[in-house]
Symmetry: C2
Subunit: 381 residues, 2 copies
């Protein structure tokens, strides 16, 4: 099997990830913050060490600004539901995932409106268009750092400058970038960043985090037991307890810690350079196969490890099925939960096939993939 | 180490649980509902099979009525925030966990009020008191099935009858019962049931579920990618997609499936009978140690596997520390995130020490525990 679906979930993970989860599950009995016995304390340490690893990765000064979530979607919902209220307006981009678009549509019922800034055919947002979309009541800007459809990376620095000029809060959706592109929340002065643990951070599914700059107080999505201030019927205001109700995924987070340590040891720059090399091979190889249409930016600039393409006159699902069954290639066809990104590229409603290599993808695998695509195009195209 | 903190998180788990997680993490690349390749399909099957196992356990006819959550707290929040609105009133009990009490206090800001029905000194709710607390605008009854502090089991049948007479929705918090006490949502006509995966279901942390009888349509806590109807900017109404946004904890749920299959194979009745035997040994042994005060109902009736106690004139944290350090016993001291339950018992604000045996606790361990408590009482009491 050749796995090119790292944008859905990374595979394989470094072996230390599953080993760390196994070890935590079989050797440690306890729940973080709930019990002061050895196992409870060790569980608490795992959470703290995972926070520290994330903080190091994104250059956040205080690890307590990191809250754990089930997935990136939960973090995005926390900010969208918790930082704005009736009468507020949000600006965002056409490259967003449904994890941003659907909460925004839902917020219309709470009298929160939004404007969508459309990217060019490669998914790139023009900062001037973003500026024009800002209204007097705009409070929040949501930016998709790296598209899960095209790998397009937005001009963060310029967008942040505009946001600061207009005193907007900024939520960065780093679902497709955290772990494979450098991010510095301090330097960029980002307010909120949501990311999953199971993609480029190479951790288990069921993990994710939300960075909330502590100058921002937003409403938590849930209330419940925190193991702290048990006597208080109000949710404790201390962070990260305020945002973390109920037992956290300590078993999974032990694995996430291992995944992030792998990323830190190898270096984001090194991982990005590897993926860029693979992407260039893939892009160049696909571009010379007759009947293949490529979408999104070419791999020479800064972009994520995602390629969208389709075979002319060929149903994307049929082609994806052939890739899986006849070539053993795992990819994803369709709209990738990002319908407006496909409208931006002109590939709506049929969508594309997406190849998303990861840190373990080899040039030999890409060689086989290109041969497989070539064969399918000859046979079916 | 003798682990008596199963009410915080169960330990050990059956070996198949960590093995199932490890296997899923190392052998299957894919994300359920996101990709149609082999790994994506296998991931989807894991979710469905886990739903089926839960449905069998609680006698729910349609596995799609089961949604996955990060923990029980998320399920409780989903119902509390999503099933009632301004002007509504909720009735609940003094035995609730902060995962019910704190969301209810938060709902006061949305003009939702609540009344707390106090239990007797053993934590038992009198159904007549519950009946008296119902107001014309009462819409939801929340019942703690089994107390995490005293093991008290509420008279579900009688409470359900009252709820039906008053046309109330009923949310059962089965955090301390699901997997160790029989539950039949069909027979009881329960509307909602929330439970964690990492306690008596013997699954990993970061798993939980919410049963929503499909006759009830409530508002989801989050919106986002569901892998379904990608073109629709509104959250799909189909269940369970409507309630499950973003990547689920498939790795963890593979383990939860294994844990529930263990429970089903061994039988809830058998597990309950084992725990009852252990509890009786523990209760009887503690009751003859001088200076030990026991709280909650004696172990002869139907109760959960939790005992609260303290040593006369002895600080509970000091005693718990001695249990951990000198005897290697893992227990939990304090208020157990259930302050009103301690007020009910008369153990507020100092709390108690809680012993919570599990399916793997042996009579030999309890023998050692009793000797340890005896020694500590002699030395410190």
């Amino acid at each position: 099997m050749i796995y090119l679906d790292n944008a859905a979930t990374s595979f394989p993970k470094p072996s230390i990830v599953a080993e760390a989860v196994y070890k935590q599950m079989t050797e440690v009995g306890g729940n973080a913050g709930r019990s002061s016995h050895q196992g409870g304390l060790q569980s608490g340490r795992i959470l703290y060490e995972t926070r520290c690893a994330i903080a190091e990765l994104i250059n956040c000064k205080d690890p307590l600004e990191i809250s754990f979530t089930l997935n990136a979607t939960e973090g995005l919902n926390t900010v969208i539901q918790g930082s704005i209220s009736a009468g507020d307006h949000v600006v965002t981009t056409s490259m967003e995932h449904n994890s941003v678009l659907r909460p925004l549509v839902e917020m219309e019922s709470r009298q929160v409106t939004h404007s969508i800034v459309w990217g060019d055919r490669e998914g790139q947002i023009n900062p001037l268009d973003m500026k024009k979309a800002i209204q007097p009541n705009t409070r929040l800007m949501i930016i998709n750092h790296c598209s899960n459809v095209t790998g397009t990376v937005q001009p963060l620095g310029e967008l942040m400058k505009i946001a600061r000029e207009h005193n907007l809060l900024v939520l960065l959706d780093a679902s497709q970038s955290c772990g494979s592109l450098p991010i510095d929340v301090e330097a960029l002065q980002i307010d909120f960043l949501a990311a999953p643990g199971h993609k480029a951070l190479l951790g288990p599914q069921g993990t994710g985090f939300l960075y909330i700059n502590k100058k921002n107080k937003i409403k938590a999505l849930k209330q419940g037991g925190t193991g702290s201030r048990s006597e208080d019927l109000h949710q404790p205001k201390t962070i990260p307890d305020y945002y973390e109700s109920g037992t956290q995924n300590i078993h999974g987070l032990a694995g996430l810690k291992a995944g992030i340590l792998f990323v830190l040891e190898n270096g984001v720059d090194h991982i990005h350079a590897h993926e860029k090399k693979i992407m260039t091979q893939l892009w160049e190889g696909l571009s010379v196969i007759q009947g293949i249409q490529l979408f999104g930016p070419p791999p020479d600039g800064c972009r994520g490890s995602v390629i969208s393409f389709r075979g002319k006159n060929l149903d994307v699902n049929q082609m994806n099925y052939a890739l899986d069954i006849t070539c053993g290639i795992s990819a994803r066809a369709g709209l990738h939960c990002a319908p407006l990104a496909h409208q931006t590229m002109g590939t709506y409603p049929e969508g594309t096939i997406r190849f998303s290599p990861g840190p373990f993808t080899t040039p030999e695998e890409i060689h086989l993939v290109l041969a497989g695509v070539n064969d399918i195009m000859k046979e079916l195209g």
